[in-house]
């Protein structure tokens, strides 16, 4: 059976400001971080997100992986990742 991607409760403003409609929390992030958060909720995997980061921000593979892993770790800590990501290391 096909997995249903959980619906994001996040609203993005100008790709820099994020509001969570469910918790009422809001925060400002970099454009790179916003892309990672949005992509994770759209169902993309690590490899897809890394490619997107390299393409959109013209950065090298190593930089993309480092930035992505650091931010995913932070998102996991704050319980902001979709359920499908929560058990991934």
């Amino acid at each position: 059976m096909e997995k249903v991607q959980p619906k994001s409760t996040f609203v993005f403003f100008d790709e820099r400001f994020v509001f969570d409609r469910a918790s009422g929390m809001f925060f400002a992030v970099s454009k790179e971080a916003a892309l990672i958060l949005r992509s994770a909720w759209e169902g993309l995997d690590r490899d897809d997100i890394r490619k997107l980061l390299m393409q959109r921000f013209k950065i090298e593979r190593g930089t993309a992986i480092r930035d992505m892993e650091q931010f995913l770790g932070k998102l996991k800590e704050l319980d902001l990742l979709p359920p499908t990501w929560r058990d991934r290391s």
């Binding site: 409760t9 100008d14 509001f19 409609r21 469910a22 918790s23």
Partner: protein, 375 residues
């Protein structure tokens, strides 16, 4: 006597909008936006209640000094008869927890006088009282911070040891103080007991994001309307001076379960705390509208107007929803009054609003809802 449907006379209490704001002014402002023909009578307990001197949309058309609720239902009924004779009251919307027991006692007498009262049933009111909140939590499957009641400080200190410090010491109706040791607990007990009387409660301190849900129940277990916010800008007294509307299925579900369990009739405010990584905990249920109730009214969900229309037997359509992301910020302002205004209410026990050139009657039309900003 005035015709209740064409020009209702609505008595509202809780007129203070200072540091610890009450909801009466917000209730008046909201109903007036829908029913500009209504006359509003302030039920006041103190000449220093700021709402007595307002000339904005929340102003009273007249206000009367009342004996404090501790005087009992007999004194309340006596004063209400006097005010009714002068004003022809159609409806009373109380906004103070301490008034409800007396009003429940005199409700049938008021009914005989043709006065409606927007209050819940006695059984619903008691089932959400702080001392039995844990039982309600069990029935509705909502976690509640551990709470114990006591009539003396020694017993209360024993409960606090069980819970662990820091913990809250709370009055049955009002006041909550965070205490870190037994000495502070004794001091808090004595202060709260001296003002509000026993029992005094001790409650486990739960830290986290605070949420508030204002709503209206239909008395049969259904939720008519509600607006849930995350509290922002909390004052030193713990009052929310700002908030953002949320749309959380978990919070909605908790609200539905509690309203169903209580068969709640009329206005309420549910206060929740969500510690990081844990479930929402039920902090308390207030049997009235919160002080921020004019905010959803201005954004398309006029709950006070709905309650007034329903109580008066008018056609009342359920209010709409406020979209997630709408916010309120409480903004304090200074009002001009005169010592003569204070003298009048103290000496005569009554004051009357009169628009003049300097203070024309405010525009009371219902505000247009702003379109949401497209992200």
């Amino acid at each position: 006597m005035k015709d209740a449907s064409s020009q209702p006379v609505i008595a509202v209490s809780g007129l203070h909008r200072g540091e610890s704001p009450q909801s009466g002014g917000a209730v008046i402002e909201s109903i007036r936006a829908r029913m500009p023909q209504a006359r509003f009578i302030g039920i006041s307990y103190d000449a220093m209640e700021t709402g007595l001197y307002s000339r904005n949309g929340d102003h009273v058309d007249a206000a009367y000094l009342f004996p404090y609720p501790v005087a009992g239902p007999g004194e309340l009924l006596k004063r209400l008869r006097e005010v009714h004779e002068a004003e022809g009251l159609s409806l009373i919307i109380p906004t103070l927890d301490s008034e409800l027991e007396n009003l429940l006692t005199v409700q049938s007498s008021l009914g005989e006088m043709g006065i409606k009262v927007a209050i819940p049933s006695r059984s619903s009111l008691q089932a959400r009282s702080k001392s039995v909140l844990d039982l309600l939590g069990k029935r509705a499957d909502v976690p509640v911070p551990r709470t114990f009641a006591a009539n003396d400080p020694v017993t209360l200190a024993g409960h606090a040891l069980n819970i662990g410090y820091p913990c809250y010491v709370k009055g049955a109706l009002y006041d909550a103080r965070l205490v870190y040791n037994e000495a502070q607990l004794y001091e808090a007990f004595n202060t709260i007991c001296a003002v509000w009387g026993p029992p005094v409660l001790v409650q486990e301190a739960i830290y986290g994001e605070e949420y508030g849900v204002a709503g209206v129940g239909d008395g049969k277990g259904r939720l008519v309307c509600h607006c849930a916010i995350r509290k922002l800008l909390r004052s030193k007294l713990g009052k929310g001076y700002g908030g953002v509307v949320i749309e959380d299925p978990v919070v909605n579900d908790i609200t539905l379960r509690l309203v169903k369990e209580l068969k709640w009739d009329g206005p309420f405010e549910i206060e929740l705390v969500k510690p990081a990584g844990r479930e929402h905990h039920l902090f308390e249920i207030n049997p009235r509208f919160p002080a921020w109730i004019s905010f959803p009214a201005k954004a398309g969900c006029n709950m006070p107007a709905y309650v007034a229309e329903r109580a008066l037997g008018l056609v009342a359509a359920a209010p709409g929803k406020v979209p997630a992301g709408k916010m309120f910020f409480r903004h304090s302002e200074d009002m001009v009054a005169d010592i003569g205004d204070v003298a009048r209410i103290i000496t005569h026990g009554v004051t009357e609003y009169a628009a003049d050139d300097e203070h024309p009657a405010p525009d009371t039309g219902e505000q247009q809802i702003r379109k949401p900003v497209t992200p």
